[in-house]
Symmetry: C2
Subunit: 240 residues, 2 copies
C-alpha cells in the first residue's frame, strides 16, 4: 500500500528541507518524492540533510506545476495550517492514514512552502486537508517534521494492516511460572526470618508486598534463578 | 499533563538539531528542554532552526550528566533504535504517550547522540525504551524528527484526554435535509427531461446515480440553494 503514496513538495525554498523530507520518507518506507518548482535544487544541502536517502533524491520527479505532480493520482490530501475561507473536508494525520488504507487509491500528500504553505487554489485541488494538531499560538511545523509526522502515521497504519506490532517486544527468556514465584517467595520468607528481618509473629504486610513486587515485575526464569541463587548464598552466610 | 514531560537531549553534536527539537516541542505544547553536555551550544544555528521557539532554548537547562537531568523524574523513557543485549521493556511512540497519561508521573524522554544514540549504560537508566518503527534497513531518524514524532503522539493523547478532536471539522453552513435533497432531485429530473438528457420511458439508472452522488457528498444548504438556482436558470434557457 505504501508504494501508492507519493509526497509532493511545492515550491520549497530551503533544499535542506527536501533532504529532511527524503530522510523521513525513507525511514518510514516511502519512496516517491515529487518536487514542484523547487527554488534551489539539486543542492549539496539536500544531499547532506538526506543523510543516506540520496536514492530518493535521485529518483525524485521534478515538475513545473502541481497539476503535473497530481495528474495520475486519485486522492489528493493537502497539508493546511490555517482556517480557510471555504471549509474543506478536514482530517488529522491519523485519519489521513486511515483514508489511504481504506480507500486504496493512488494518493498524493501535498506540502506547501515553508513560509506560506499552499495557496487557496492549490488547497482547492485537494480532496481533503490534513492538519497536524499543533498549538494555535505556534502552529507552523518545519517541512521535514511535517513530512515525518504524516509518514509515521502511514507506517503505523501499514504495520497494523500487516498485523505486525509496531515494535516487537521480544524477551529472550520465558516468564517465571506461578509455581516458581511461589517457591521464590517461600524461600525468601525463610531467609528473611533467618536474618531476623521478618518476625514470624509480626509479619506485617512484608510478604504480600514482595509478592506484589515480583508479580508486577513479571519475573523471567533467569531472574528467578538469580534470586534463588542469591537467597541460597544468604542462607549460607546466615548459618556460618 | 504536558507540563510533566521533559525532553532530554544527550550529547547533541549539531546545534541545528537542538533548534529543531525546540521547535517541534513548542509546536506540540511541550516546554521543558534539558541538554546534557551539548557539544556546541549556545549557537546561532540552534536559534535559526528553532524558528521562533527561542523561549524554549533560553529556558533550557544545560547540565553535565544524565543523572542531573533525570534526578527528580519518576518515569524515564529512552529512545532506542537498536536491539540491545539485555531486552528491556519496549513500547512504540503511541504506547509511550499512553504511559505518560495513564501513570501521571514526572516523565523524561531521553534522546541520544546523532551518530550513536544512547549508550547501554544510559539505556539501562530508563524504565522503558521507545522505538519509532522505522524500516530496518534505514532506521535512524533525524534527532529533531524523532522529537517531533514523540511530541506529536503526546499532543494527540493530550487532545484525546481533553475530549477535544485533534482537528475541528467546522462547516460554516448546515447540511441539507432529506426533504431538500428530494426537492433537488425532483427538480433535476424535470430539467433533465426538459433538456432531453433523460428519456422518461428509458430512465436507466440516472436518477439513482444522482441521488447517490448528492447523498455521498453531504450537500450543505448553500450548495443546495446554488444547485436549485442553476436548475431554474437551465429551465428558463430550455424554455426560451
Amino acid at each position: 500500500m505504501q508504494n501508492k503514496v507519493r509526497i509532493v513538495l511545492v515550491n520549497t525554498s530551503h533544499p535542506g528541507n527536501i533532504g529532511g523530507a527524503a530522510r523521513a520518507m525513507k525511514n518510514m518506507g516511502l519512496a516517491d518524492l515529487y518536487l514542484v518548482a523547487p527554488r534551489d535544487y539539486p543542492s549539496q544541502e539536500a544531499v547532506s540533510r538526506a543523510s543516506g536517502a540520496t536514492d530518493l533524491l535521485e529518483s525524485a520527479v521534478v515538475v513545473e506545476t502541481l497539476e503535473e505532480a497530481l495528474a495520475d493520482c486519485q486522492l489528493v490530501i493537502g497539508t493546511s495550517a490555517r482556517e480557510r475561507t471555504i471549509p474543506w473536508p478536514l482530517v488529522d494525520p491519523r485519519e489521513s492514514a486511515d483514508l489511504v488504507f481504506n480507500e486504496g487509491l493512488e494518493t498524493a500528500f501535498v506540502f506547501g512552502r515553508e513560509d506560506r504553505g499552499l495557496t487557496n487554489e492549490e488547497l482547492q485541488r485537494c480532496h481533503y486537508h490534513v492538519h497536524i494538531p499543533s498549538v494555535a499560538s505556534f502552529s507552523s511545523l518545519n517541512l521535514g517534521a511535517a513530512v515525518q509526522v504524516i509518514a509515521y502515521e502511514l507506517r503505523m497504519k501499514f504495520l497494523a494492516s500487516q498485523d505486525a506490532p509496531a515494535v516487537q517486544n521480544k524477551w529472550d527468556v520465558p516468564a517465571a511460572t506461578v509455581e516458581q514465584v511461589d517457591y521464590l517467595l517461600a524461600h525468601l520468607e525463610k531467609v528473611l526470618v533467618d536474618i531476623e528481618f521478618l518476625d514470624p509473629d509480626m509479619p506485617m504486610q512484608v510478604m504480600p508486598r514482595f509478592r506484589r513486587l515480583f508479580q508486577r515485575s513479571r519475573l523471567d526464569q533467569q531472574e528467578y534463578g538469580m534470586l534463588r541463587g542469591m537467597l541460597t548464598s544468604m542462607e549460607k552466610q546466615a548459618r556460618s
